[in-house]
């Protein structure tokens, strides 16, 4: 079952009723203010955000005025095109010339960093790559144990220190041991932190600095893990983490629920940060590459 089907599969009543409305929105009638307003509703309900939603609808309004779009089908196509073009497709697999490929995962608490890392490690080892996971969340109770279980499932090795130790040191050791064991990939799990905590943001900066020192050019990917359930605050998260350490992409998790994660549209629009991965379940294989077309379809369709 593809991602799209899976998403459709788990749809709630709410989404179905929304879809029904979008389907009926413009069919057999000309574009009017009411229809555009309903479209704005759909976008807001998907957490795209009131500003982005009204800018998209205003854009359509202009087009309609100029006669560039005439009816329902045009509108649907126009908006889907616009959104998927904006989101674009971007792959995480930009392997550097020199091994190891170093990936850092970060984000606020409870977004699914550890789970995402487990799934990502599985995917790499499925491809025959040697993976080392760095247990740099030394703060949360049992975070290391949790990661160990995922590492086992993913057939990856783990580098860990004691709980409470310096996360930067863990990251450094992981890269050193990856070089020694000629591993292909290092994935660094970091503690969840709110972007408003100055000291914790300083800590993550330090981790990144140490990683840069351990291997010039690393980290090759800095993934911000974002929970699809999150509303407008995800934009703040992306801004603050990006300012602190420079994000290369978003991993959007928990898309198997009823939340649609529309905030990534605003994140891409404002910060230019692409979604690279999506999480669609608790299973180890429930991680996919982001496909903007499918995502936009899922935002609108049932």
């Amino acid at each position: 079952m593809g991602f799209f089907d899976r998403l459709k599969d788990g749809l709630s009543k709410t989404r179905k009723s929304l879809v029904g409305r979008v389907e009926d929105l413009f069919t057999g009638r000309r574009i009017d203010a009411e229809g555009l307003q309903e479209l704005e509703e759909v976008l807001i309900m998907a957490d795209v955000g009131p500003k982005a939603a009204s800018s998209i609808t205003n854009n359509l309004k202009e087009k309609a005025k100029r006669g560039e779009i005439q009816d329902a089908l045009d509108v649907k196509t126009a908006i889907k095109d616009k959104m998927s073009m904006l989101l674009g497709n971007s792959s995480i697999l930009n392997f550097p010339e020199e091994k190891p490929f170093v990936i850092m995962a970060l984000g606020v608490n409870g977004v699914g960093k550890t789970t995402t890392i487990g799934k990502l490690a599985r995917r790499f080892s499925n491809n025959g790559l040697k993976v080392i996971i760095a247990a740099a969340d030394t703060f949360r109770a049992a975070a290391i144990e949790q990661l160990e279980i995922w590492a086992k499932r993913a057939d990856a090795q783990i580098v860990k220190h004691q709980a409470g130790s310096d996360p930067a040191a863990v990251a450094y050791d992981a890269i050193a041991s990856a070089k020694a064991r000629s591993a292909d990939v290092v994935i660094i799990d970091t503690a969840g932190r709110l972007h408003t905590k100055t000291n914790l943001m300083e800590e993550i900066k330090k981790v990144k600095k140490v990683v840069e020192k351990a291997m010039p050019g690393a980290p090759h990917e800095v993934l911000l893990v974002v929970d699809a359930t999150t509303g407008q605050n995800a934009l703040r998260q992306a801004q603050m983490f990006n300012e602190a350490v420079g994000i290369t992409g978003i991993a959007l998790t928990k898309l198997d629920g009823t939340a649609k994660g529309g905030i990534v549209v605003a994140i891409k629009d404002t910060l230019g940060l692409p979604v690279k991965l999506i999480g669609i379940g608790e299973g180890i294989d429930d991680l996919r590459d982001f496909d903007s077309r499918e995502f936009v379809e899922a935002l609108f369709e049932g």
Partner: protein, 440 residues
């Protein structure tokens, strides 16, 4: 973004001056702004729709109070309505007449159930009760370990079995143990699940049936977006909840989810989680949440904190000094001391409207230590007459305080600027200070 909603509304309603009635068209313009504010704060679209309609009905034709601008008047109506929708007052946890009191925590993955369970247990222990934590999350890797570690830290027993065990059996076993050992509070930490996962929701139904909890609390992330409505509605309809605990409130999310959830379930928010440390669980105050959703900052908390630290007499003396323009370095030091007593400055600033949105706001608390050292190194005379502090005095002060002449220069410059500001203040020349009390 929303520096102060009332200011924005004032510009819309500026045509209305003095006493009058709020007219339909004035209110319509204001409601548009309020709608945006609420949507930006993640209040659910449908909730916003009902809410603004309600406000429209209440606002149109209403007298504008003499003391308020029309904008403030509308904001006040919105604020009051928000407060009442979120339950008006505080709501506490109910205890069973027949102990043990069972408290069941449910919610999505990553909402903070395990941390909250430990925080609750700690609170009960502090009240002299004998809580038992139950690791009913047999699903997530190391969830049992996590609760055990937290229990250890708090010296509170944790009932746990094996991973993959049936949570219903775990909870039943825990209840038995609690009865045997005279534990009066049992906190069930269930696995995170999606509200649309039929099998796992059925499991929760069974846990509830077998343990008859006094309180079923939905643990929800304050950063939740539009989906808050679906989530809370599903959990409430299927399991039946008695209240909500809103976590991660120490971030800068405006927390509109609180309103959405209160509106669709009619259930109160009982606690908020404000940090990763285990004592950071606080009662929920609807009025503070209303300010936060409207982007007006947590004024009440700030006022409370200020009142705790500055007594009326001190305030009078300060006022006198400002009036006499004799505000010296000693007074500056005193003010800094009060400010610092209120807690980390970062936290205080985040409560002031507008400040929480300041980009790259970075306050180094160590700067204050420097300032105090510099002032301490001044003679009594210098502290009262900054004008006499010449080059050689500056060098001496810098050396004495372990700072540089640049630091000393900067402080004097800031002090002079401040004095100027206070003078303007006294003369009532429209000083642009953040509006702290929108309803006054």
């Amino acid at each position: 973004m929303f520096e102060a909603l009332s200011e924005k509304l004032d510009s819309i309603l500026k045509k209305l001056k003095g006493r009058g009635l709020l007219k339909e068209e004035d209110v319509a313009g204001a409601l548009k702004e309020i709608r945006m504010a609420l949507l930006e704060a993640d209040v659910n679209f449908k909730v916003v729709k009902d809410f603004t309609e309600n406000i429209r009905q209440r606002a149109v034709g209403k007298d504008i109070l003499e003391s308020l601008t029309p904008g403030q008047q509308v904001v006040k109506i919105v604020y009051d309505e928000l407060c009442s929708l979120m339950g008006g007052g505080q709501s506490r946890i109910q205890l069973s007449a027949n102990p043990p009191t069972v408290i069941m925590l449910i919610g999505l993955q990553g909402s903070g159930k395990t941390t909250t369970a430990a925080k609750l247990a700690k609170g009960f222990k502090k009240d002299g009760r004998r809580p038992l934590l139950v690791a009913a999350d047999t699903q997530r890797p190391a969830a049992i370990e996590q609760l055990k570690t937290l229990g250890n830290q708090l010296d509170i027993p944790v009932y746990a079995t094996q991973e993959k065990d049936d949570p219903v059996k775990v909870c039943e076993g825990a209840l038995q143990k609690a009865r045997l050992e005279g534990r009066d509070i049992v906190i069930l930490d269930t696995a995170g699940r999606l509200h649309i996962d039929d099998a796992l929701m059925a499991e929760l139904e069974r846990v509830k049936e077998k343990t008859s909890p006094k309180e079923v609390l939905l643990v929800a992330d304050a950063m939740t977006g539009q989906d808050a409505v679906n989530i809370s509605q599903s959990f409430n309809q299927r399991i039946g909840i008695d209240g909500v605990i809103l976590t991660k409130m120490d971030g800068d999310a405006r927390g509109g989810a609180a309103l959405s959830m209160a509106a669709v379930t009619g259930k109160p928010i009982k606690f908020i989680g404000v940090g990763e440390k285990l004592d950071l669980l606080e009662p929920f105050y609807p009025d503070r949440m209303a300010s936060r959703i409207l982007g007006m900052g947590d004024i009440l908390s700030l006022v409370e904190k200020a009142q705790e630290n500055i007594n009326a007499e001190q305030a009078m003396t300060l006022q006198k000094k400002i009036n006499e323009e004799s505000f010296g370095f000693d007074d500056l030091k005193e003010q800094i001391k009060h400010l610092r007593k209120m807690g980390p400055l970062e936290g205080i600033l985040s409560m002031i409207p507008g400040m929480n949105r300041l980009k790259g706001l970075d306050i180094d608390e160590r700067e204050f230590v420097k300032v105090e050292a510099i002032i301490d190194s001044m003679t009594r005379h210098e502290r009262k007459n900054y004008a006499i502090i010449n080059g050689s005095r500056r060098r001496r002060i810098a050396q004495g305080s372990g700072t540089t002449v640049t630091d000393v220069n900067r402080l004097i410059k800031q002090y002079v600027g401040m004095k100027k500001m206070l003078k303007q203040f006294k003369q009532g020349k429209g000083l642009k200070l953040p509006k702290l009390f929108p309803f006054r």
